[in-house]
């Protein structure tokens, strides 16, 4: 039985934040869940995916976040409690659905988890998704701890049903990837079947209907504001004239700082856990009791702006500060010492920062940048593209996935990366606006997610591009989640379809389509050269299973290779491929047989043919 299905209310369990959110959903009787994987949200889905095999919960990996939200919205409007989780930038993809879903609302509870990533541990930006609450009009809840994250999910479902609106649960990486002890509540039996009651004048958003629905949304925001003011998640502690308003993990750092600075007797704290709409009446009372107020929040000055606006409307003139050069930054994550230091500075308390030793004499420690794995087929494809386009001035738009790492030397394949799917759209723009050749890269899951419209655009507008689809048969970067191209039978899961990329691309009208086996360099280079020479849209599908995924499926049977005495130290293997299985001993290159997967790509690159298979692993 899955750990999250432990039906022992009151039992204490150590959980990752994302496990706690999944457990909270099960305690809320979630019956329907849809997602597109993305760090730091991925473990919520992974756990629900596993739980779904043992319960009546329906779970799906949808093709992208917009589809996931649409699927979940339909379930919720059929009376089935639904949850939809994604990383912060995924909400951008889902935003079109989100904005009008707020007009339509929901019948059963619908909770949308937005996992934000301050500091961009694994993201392309650090946008603050609390603004999506303001933009859409939907309630936003923000936990400050792992235990609270679990408690908030059932509250979010109830709130959603009370307001008939979806509710956004906004986390940050430091909640998702922290671990703490949580108290288990009772599991709630999911109700997986619903019925959609037709009601076109509430569900079909033609202008005449939407004009009415926008009125209702504003009424709902007013109702939500009243609930925000009385919510147990917006609470006040302490007393005195120094005020601190904080949210999320900043609350934990604030509590620790107040204790360390010994200012409990002078400081009152308003913790905001229900941050859209902001609790106007509660804020007014708090501000009235304070001489000055510091707003402690990572990211944008979302609360600070709201608090200042309320103070202005109420005629309160006390100092309210937050983001400023000498106070808090809008950049990156906060940490306990930084929050303590700024609180001390703002309220004029003598405080010395911890004595960090002088590290000026410590030599630079060589970095450990993430690299493509040993045997990764992307390396082979990138090498083949490099050889096939030698001498040409080529732009390589790339996309979001493991292969983004190809931009690093020695491969240096990746010139423009902004968001999921942009490799196909931007390729057309580069081709049209320059005289440079364009060869772009996209992974299989990203292609299904949002690469297809860009490719159709290139066909329709007659752009001259080559798109390389790096089809490694899984969603590798986030932990091998299924995508529409995956053979689900290999995972012993039935009831799924499977989409083959080659006929799909042909059906889109691409005139030149080839599929290569990237480990065969000679054939791959020839096929890519032909595709690049083709005038118009050409697609090359580099099809080879991710080595880590193949290993997990026990399908990796390659024999390790060795470097023989024929080696003349050209070092093309190291300098052109940079596979992590290589290492130097003295002046001689070796291959670590425990790391080598036997892909044989280096053996094809070596000018002396000095790399040969080992007979057996030593």
């Amino acid at each position: 039985m899955h750990k999250l299905l432990t039906d022992q209310p009151g039992q204490r369990m150590l959980m990752l934040g994302n496990e706690a959110i999944a457990r909270g959903a099960l305690e809320a009787g979630v019956a329907f869940a849809a997602t597109y994987p993305g760090t730091p949200s991925s473990e919520i889905s992974l756990n629900l995916f596993q739980v779904a095999r043992e319960t009546e919960l329906y779970f799906e990996y949808s093709t992208n976040e917009k589809v996931a939200l649409e699927v979940a919205a339909a379930a919720a409007n059929s009376g089935v409690r639904a949850m939809c989780m994604m990383k912060h930038v995924g909400v951008n993809v889902a935003a079109d659905a989100l904005m009008t879903l707020a007009y339509v609302g929901t019948r059963a509870g619908l909770v949308i988890v937005s996992a934000d990533d301050p500091f961009m541990f694994s993201s392309q930006n650090e946008q603050d998704n609390r603004y999506y609450g303001k933009l859409s009009g939907l309630p936003v809840l923000e936990p400050s701890s792992v235990a609270e994250a679990k408690e908030m999910v059932p509250y979010a479902f109830d709130l959603s049903e009370q307001l008939n609106e979806p509710v956004i649960l906004r986390t940050t990486t430091r909640i998702n990837h922290s671990t703490a002890v949580v108290d288990l509540g009772a599991l709630k039996q999911p109700q997986p079947r619903g019925h959609f009651d037709k009601d076109p004048f509430n569900f079909v958003t033609v202008p005449a209907v939407s004009r009415q629905l926008h009125v209702r949304l504003l009424e709902n925001i007013a109702r939500a504001e009243a609930l925000s003011t009385t919510s147990p998640y917006n609470f006040e502690t302490g007393e005195g004239g120094w005020g601190i308003i904080c949210n999320g993990v900043s609350y934990a750092y604030t509590v620790d700082a107040i204790r360390d600075l010994e200012i409990e007797d002078r400081t009152r704290v308003l913790r905001i856990g229900f941050s859209h709409p902001m609790p106007r009446n509660q804020l007014k009372a708090f501000l009235t009791a304070c001489e000055k107020v510091l707003v402690v929040e990572e990211g944008e000055p979302y609360m600070e702006e709201a608090v200042k606006a309320i103070a202005q409307e109420e005629g309160l003139t006390l100092p309210i500060r937050g983001k400023a050069d000498e106070l808090f930054s809008r950049l990156y994550e906060f940490d306990p010492a930084m929050v303590r230091q700024v609180i001390a500075h703002f309220f004029g308390i003598q405080h010395d920062l911890p004595a960090v030793p002088d590290l000026s004499d410590v030599p630079e420690v060589p970095p450990r940048p993430p690299t493509l794995c040993a045997g990764c087929s992307h390396r082979a494809t990138f090498y083949a593209v490099k050889k096939a386009t030698e001498g040409l001035d080529v732009i390589h738009p790339s996309d979001i996935g493991c292969y983004t790492l190809g931009f690093l030397p020695p491969l240096s394949m990746g010139d423009f990366v902004i968001c999921m799917g942009a490799s196909t759209g931007s390729a057309g723009g580069f081709a049209q606006a320059t005289d440079q050749k364009v060869v772009s890269f996209i992974g299989d899951s990203t292609f299904f997610h949002s690469g297809i419209p860009g490719l159709i655009n290139a066909v329709f507008n007659r752009h001259n591009i080559t798109l390389i689809i790096l089809d490694n048969r899984t969603t590798a970067m986030t932990g091998h989640q299924p995508n529409p191209g995956v053979d689900m039978n290999e995972l012993n899961l039935d009831g799924y379809g499977q989409i083959d990329i080659e006929p799909l691309v042909k059906a889109l009208g691409v005139a030149h389509v080839t599929t290569i086996k990237p480990y065969n360099l000679k054939k791959s280079i020839a096929a890519i050269r032909e595709a690049v020479q083709f005038e118009g849209v050409s697609v090359v599908i580099a099809k080879e299973k991710c080595t880590l995924y193949a290993k997990a499926l026990k399908q990796l049977h390659g024999k390790a290779f060795q470097i023989t005495t024929r080696c003349r130290n050209h070092r093309d293997c190291i300098n052109d491929l940079g596979c992590p299985a290589f290492f130097l001993e003295g002046d001689q290159v070796h291959i670590d047989p425990d790391i080598c997967t036997g892909c044989a790509v280096c053996a094809q690159v070596c000018p002396e043919h000095a790399i040969t298979p080992l007979k057996a692993k030593p």
Binding site: H177, P366, P369, L372, P580
Partner: protein, 196 residues
């Protein structure tokens, strides 16, 4: 209870997250407040994994520069890299068997001299316990138990609010059954190594 802050640094695949989990489970068993966080980014692809564990009365799950009471490093250059987390009060425990980054392995970076690493750490912290934990792990019968060897050494310092027997119990009940025997042996070897 006064907070006790522990940082564990390792290279992806060295079992940092399991080590943290064992300590977290032991704390849960002993009813000691514990909060932890992890940064693993793209660790599966060769990066650094850092865990922070805060025992006692604190809400934070991360540890600021200069504020670690104990630093445990599973790899010597990673221990050195994490010195910014330490102060003159910090006890450092490190494995001395290097896992050179790929950049060094192919001759495009310089691995710091091991003696220099220990001299620098000794000069800047309260105490250093350095030994070849890989050798102890092999002696325990499984190189993958290196993480548990270091937990043994950590428990020997008695800096954690956890009894060694509680950690042993967590190893017995919370790690894979097939590895329990090797892990318990690894724990004891690490425990002894730190005593020398």
């Amino acid at each position: 209870m006064k907070p006790m802050r522990l940082i564990i640094v390792a290279v992806g695949g060295q079992g940092n997250l399991l080590a943290s989990k064992v300590l977290g489970e032991a704390a849960l068993m002993a009813d000691i407040p514990v909060r932890m966080s992890e940064i693993h980014g793209m660790a599966q692809r060769g990066g650094v994994v850092e865990s922070a564990l805060v025992f006692g009365d604190a809400q934070s799950t991360i540890i600021s520069d200069g504020e670690a009471d104990v630093l445990v490093g599973f790899e010597p250059s990673e221990t050195l890299r994490a010195l910014n987390k330490c102060s003159a009060r910090t006890t450092v425990i490190t494995n001395m068997a290097p896992l050179p980054p790929f950049t060094v392995a192919i001759g495009k970076g310089i691995y710091p001299d091991l003696e220099n690493i220990t001299a620098l750490i000794e000069a800047k912290t309260h105490r250093l316990i350095a030994f070849d934990a890989a050798e102890q792990a092999r002696a325990a019968g499984n190189i993958m138990s290196l993480n548990i060897v270091l937990l043994g050494a950590l428990c020997r310092t008695e800096l954690l609010p956890l009894k060694a027997d509680t950690v042993r119990e967590a190893i017995r009940t919370r790690t894979k059954q097939a590895f329990v025997e090797a892990n318990l042996k690894a724990f004891d070897l690490g425990f002894q190594a730190a005593a020398d």
